[in-house]
């Protein structure tokens, strides 16, 4: 039987391998375990520093249970079925999709300018677009709501604007990431034909990202709706205002009813959003 033995080259000619091996490698292991230790110290310090009443924490479950049973149950469902409240729910829905719509309209060019591969100018436009998107994203939607209420007064305009800013940040980043992930082949081809950058976007980029953008759009609306339920708390319109009012008036049964209504609506919105995104993904 013919046998070919390939020589394991290294072992014969190299010096004997080290018989020593340590698991703790300097300095990588030091950084790793040092980091973990630091985090642990920080956590312990935090608990002390913040005066977290650990006893209250452990008793919490009993207290929460009792609290809910006494003061939050049964929820006053009739309250949330009143026409005034239902009107505010309708307002909330409108605010959410207006905010999402305007936000996305502005997020599309921002996403384009903020994408490293397709931005018209990497030195100026790109950083600015990224900065705008990140700032819009970093500021919490409630802060936007408060700011707009302070400038423009109570009402839904503040709410829609706040949601718009939020969506610009949210969708802008996702759009930019999506554009950065495209196949550059068609883009190159179209640029080679001398097409304008706008046409390149329309013919080479847009068809590739269309489905993903729709998915992002639906997701953005979903998240905007969740925020919309709460902006009213700060005076920006929608059902959140009823929440605040009833908390101030210590109408706990109404508060729980409102919370239930918020949960139900958000769950419905989430269901719609999941269904719509699945449809879009399939229709690809």
């Amino acid at each position: 039987m013919a046998v070919s033995t390939a020589t394991q080259a290294s072992s014969d000619t190299k010096p004997a391998p080290p018989r020593e091996w340590r698991r703790f490698k300097f300095p990588e292991s030091l950084y790793r375990w040092g980091g973990v230790l630091l985090a642990l110290v920080f956590v312990s310090y935090s608990i002390i520093y913040l005066n977290i009443p650990l006893d209250r924490f452990f008793n919490m479950f009993g207290r929460v249970g009792q609290l809910v049973a006494d003061r939050y149950y049964p929820p006053e469902i009739d309250y949330v079925l009143e026409p005034d409240y239902l009107a505010s729910v309708f307002d909330t829905i409108q605010m959410s999709y207006l905010g999402a719509l305007f936000g996305m309209l502005m997020a599309v060019p921002l996403g384009w300018f903020g994408s490293y591969n397709m931005t018209p100018s990497r030195r100026f436009v790109y950083p600015v677009a990224r900065l705008v998107t990140m700032s819009a994203r970093a500021v919490h939607e409630t802060i936007w709501a408060i700011l707009f209420v302070t400038i423009l007064g109570f009402g839904m305009m503040a709410g829609v604007l706040a949601l718009t800013m939020f969506c610009i940040g949210f969708a802008g980043k996702l759009f930019a990431e999506e554009i950065e992930a495209i196949d550059m082949g068609p883009v190159e081809a179209l640029r080679a034909t001398g097409a304008s950058e706008l046409n390149v976007m329309a013919y080479a980029v847009f068809p590739q990202v269309r489905v993903a953008f729709t998915g992002i759009g639906i997701y953005t609306w979903d998240v905007a709706f969740r925020a919309a339920t709460v902006v009213g708390f700060f005076g920006a319109g929608g059902m959140g205002w009823y929440l605040k009012r009833n908390i101030l008036q210590i109408e706990t049964y109404r508060v729980s009813a409102i919370l239930v209504s918020i949960i139900v609506l958000v769950l419905i919105a989430e269901g719609i959003s999941a269904w719509a995104r699945a449809r879009v993904a399939k229709a690809k």
Binding site: F42, V43, Y49, R56, Q94, A138, I263
Partner: protein
């Protein structure tokens, strides 16, 4: 000649078909536009107190009030900023602990009794993500009183959804090959878990935790608005005393904090993956 005529017919047909889709699209567009206008009118236009807003100039003036940094405030911001990060960190960690049952039940390949436990897990995840952190904070303030604990709890509960979902998905996507190998070597189920399953899941989980921690800094910074301490409280006070440059200063501080969080998150996640 026949073929030329045929092609001309085809062209006609294609143009007609494309026009039809174009018209349909245009109609849809118009309808949507009309709906939007209607919404805008009923919500913004009718609801807004235009008199109070005044002219564009007045609005610009209002905005102008915010411009400026209240430097004297800055030294007093360190402590609330520290509090904000602490609340975010503790909240995230507590959230991880709470996650564990949700993860166990929420991964189809390890859930103990799929028809019951899997829906429970998904419900937990959905509830956690659907309810706004402000609502959770209000709830916990009612339950445990004002202060950092309410904030920590609110953030913990809010984080469960995302962390559990991503980790459960990582577990469902497990590569079975190392699992087979460790079994073949004679390892016990525990060793299979430690050697084959954990090394696959842990990096994903830690990455997700750090990502959520970064987002939680953003959330923690505003929970002070409902009584949970930190920069949110400072923001609230500045607003109530109409100290608008102070408000701007706090917002900038929050942005700096978020930037810090993003940097830490970026480097830690790079080291893990």
């Amino acid at each position: 000649m026949a073929t030329a005529q045929a092609t001309a017919d085809q062209v006609e047909r294609i143009i007609a078909a494309r026009s039809k889709t174009k018209i349909v699209r245009l109609l849809i567009f118009v309808v949507v536009l009309a709906l939007v206008f209607l919404s805008v009118k009923t919500t913004i236009v009718d609801d807004t107190d235009w008199a109070r807003i005044g002219s564009v100039w007045n609005v610009l003036e209002s905005i102008g009030q915010f411009i400026g940094i209240n430097w004297s405030l800055v030294p007093n911001l360190w402590q609330p900023a520290l509090e904000t990060i602490m609340v975010a960190t503790l909240g995230t960690l507590l959230g991880v602990v709470v996650c564990i049952p949700a993860i166990w039940f929420g991964a189809l390949n390890i859930t103990p009794f799929a028809p019951i436990t899997y829906p429970i897990a998904r419900l937990m995840m959905t509830l956690s993500r659907s309810i706004h952190e402000i609502v959770w904070a209000l709830f916990f303030v009612a339950a445990v009183g004002l202060g950092a604990l309410a904030g920590v709890l609110a953030i913990a509960v809010r984080s469960v959804g995302f962390i559990a979902k991503m980790t459960a998905e990582a577990i469902e996507d497990l590569d079975p090959r190392p699992v087979e190998a460790i079994r073949a070597v004679g390892g016990s189920e525990f060793q299979v878990f430690i050697y084959a399953i954990l090394p696959q899941v842990l990096p994903v989980m830690v990455g997700v935790i750090v990502f959520e921690w970064e987002i939680n800094i953003r959330r923690s910074s505003i929970l002070g608005l409902v009584g949970a301490g930190g920069l949110g409280l400072v923001f609230f006070r500045q607003l109530n005393t109409f100290n608008y440059p102070g408000v701007t200063t706090v917002i900038l501080a929050i942005l700096v904090l978020i930037l810090f969080g993003e940097m830490v998150s970026y480097y830690v996640r790079k080291a893990i993956i």
